[in-house]
Symmetry: C2
Subunit: 333 residues, 2 copies
């Protein structure tokens, strides 16, 4: 590993993975982690437990803000484990001098997102650091949920023959934040997709309790998420490029900045691996939900070549879609 932390260690790609593995090795026997977004722990009920810190800049962007992000990100991590999200913790690290009006606006947005997702904030903490020791506001949320009987979802459970479903267009969140940050003119056309996906997942589980894998492609984008699943499940993933929706302003912004939308973060999308024979029914159920209206089958799982993600282009050629290596868009979540 590098001997100093680089921005790329936070970008969600290969260096992030190396950092996490290093930390897990340091924690050794004190750590139990399967690298899924939420950890399911035993008890009288099976509980799902997850955490995320949010350091997005700017705090406010089209389609959301750091508060909405902090609720949705953690609710979605719970939902991706098949859990019913119930409770959130909320911890704020505030830079001295932050205008109260901005803090109030963020807290109000947290309330609205929590009510939409039907979760309660039950515990919290605030810390204040001197001017210059943090950038405005960092938020941590941890989430607690219960996993229904018979539900077993993990990044390690994708199987050859599975159909791969995507809930909607990719790249909206990362491009919206980037455009807002850089003050780009056409930022008005871009809007973050930041949304709680727990109701969508509940609708999917109703028609297919046997979902194998669910993941929300945040940092590192769809390409990185698919690579993580290909590795965890030791399978080959084939994606039809033309089946993946990309909104025209997102495509334009990516072309301008030389970004690949497959690597740009989403905050209100999910990818699901389900038995092929259930795929049509799952897609139909998703399309009835607000955040699943654009759902599509985008690919399938093969046994070989294991751990690889292959993209089939509209021209019929194929290319390997690797994990994000460097630092694409810092501080988008």
């Amino acid at each position: 590993m590098e001997d100093r932390i680089l921005m790329a260690h936070g970008a969600g790609g290969r260096l992030s993975h190396e950092l996490v593995v290093h930390l897990i090795n340091c924690l050794s026997t004190a750590c139990r982690n399967n690298l899924d977004d939420a950890s399911v722990v035993p008890g009288a009920e099976r509980l799902a437990f997850t955490t995320d810190s949010f350091v997005v800049t700017p705090l406010f962007f089209p389609g959301g803000d750091v508060g909405r992000l902090a609720v949705c990100g953690t609710v979605n991590d719970l939902a991706m484990s098949g859990a019913t999200a119930l409770y959130l913790s909320l911890s704020l690290i505030i830079e001295e001098g932050l205008p109260l009006v901005e803090l109030t606006r963020v807290a109000t947005s947290i309330r609205e997102a929590a009510l939409e997702a039907r979760v309660y904030i039950v515990t919290g903490d605030t810390k204040v650091v001197p001017h210059g020791a943090a950038d405005k506001l960092f938020i941590n949320t941890a989430g607690l949920g219960t996993v229904p009987e018979g539900i077993n979802i993990s990044g390690a459970f994708a199987r050859p023959g599975d159909a791969i479903i995507l809930s909607g267009s990719i790249g909206d969140h990362g491009t919206a934040v980037m455009a807002q940050r850089e003050g780009l003119r056409f930022s008005g056309d871009l809007s973050s997709d930041c949304a709680p996906l727990n109701n969508l997942v509940a609708a999917m589980m109703t028609v297919c309790p046997n979902i194998h894998t669910l993941r929300d492609p945040t940092r590192g984008g769809l390409a990185t998420t698919l690579n993580e699943i290909a590795h965890q499940s030791n399978v080959n993933i084939v994606i039809e490029e033309s089946a993946v929706p990309i909104n025209p302003p997102v495509q334009a912004m990516c072309s301008l900045l030389g970004l690949d939308p497959f690597y740009v973060a989403n905050e209100g999308k999910l990818v699901a691996f389900v038995p092929e024979e259930k795929a049509g029914e799952v897609v139909a159920a998703m399309r009835h939900e607000r955040y699943g209206a654009q759902a599509e089958i985008i690919g399938a799982v093969n046994a070989q070549p294991a751990t690889r993600v292959t993209l089939r282009t509209p021209l019929g050629t194929t290319r390997v879609l690797p994990m994000l290596a460097g630092d694409l868009l810092p501080r988008i979540c």
Copy 2:
């Protein structure tokens, strides 16, 4: 409220309280919080859930570091609700450029503290922000535990007639961090008391399941914690000043800097409110434990004057011990 966040909003005293109340008001119906350190939520089992972020500077100090603090602080918040601490989440906000050797040292310290407290880290997150956007390393831990049948502990449950027990000397953590930060000569004599108190609490609950209130006096010190309890329980608290142990180097450091040790943070001490007839037995059980060897009865609870904390000095006079108003020692946890 002030229209900008001040350092005093993070100091654990009156302004911190105002900030928390403001945030809870903003969160409104999305929030369920009793102002205890951990929230006990219903389920098949009663679960305790808590969160804390740690922004201490410097990262390493005599007796501990930010990693040990992050484990002990959250384990202790769970223990103060009477819960058996089981699982932690771990979220790191890392400043670009942090030497890997420092991160590794912190992670190793987290491992050792977790093993000592017998808790597992089951989920985590890492974010990296550019140089200058955070100060080296901030850590959030959230904690999950189960509350045994029949245990009901809260800051609101202190009752007239209760005896008040303190587990040991006060002011050690805050003075050790301050001395290290300022490079004071006699810092070698000071050492943080940072420790996991869950085994101590388990021993106390064995002899007295009917503990009314438990609290670890961290930010704002013993005085602020006692004021919080006096308000939550609507009682008068009387403390015998001479019964409260203060180590001589702590007393010297406080005299030099004009600090009152009653307002200086602790990270390995607890204050317990128990029925008077059980107090002797609880103290005896505590003294058998590593972190309770200095346990003493330091005071008692009266009905009136409600919400007030009174200190009886060795001279026989009394004075009111108010809540911390301003900003004593920033970033000690």
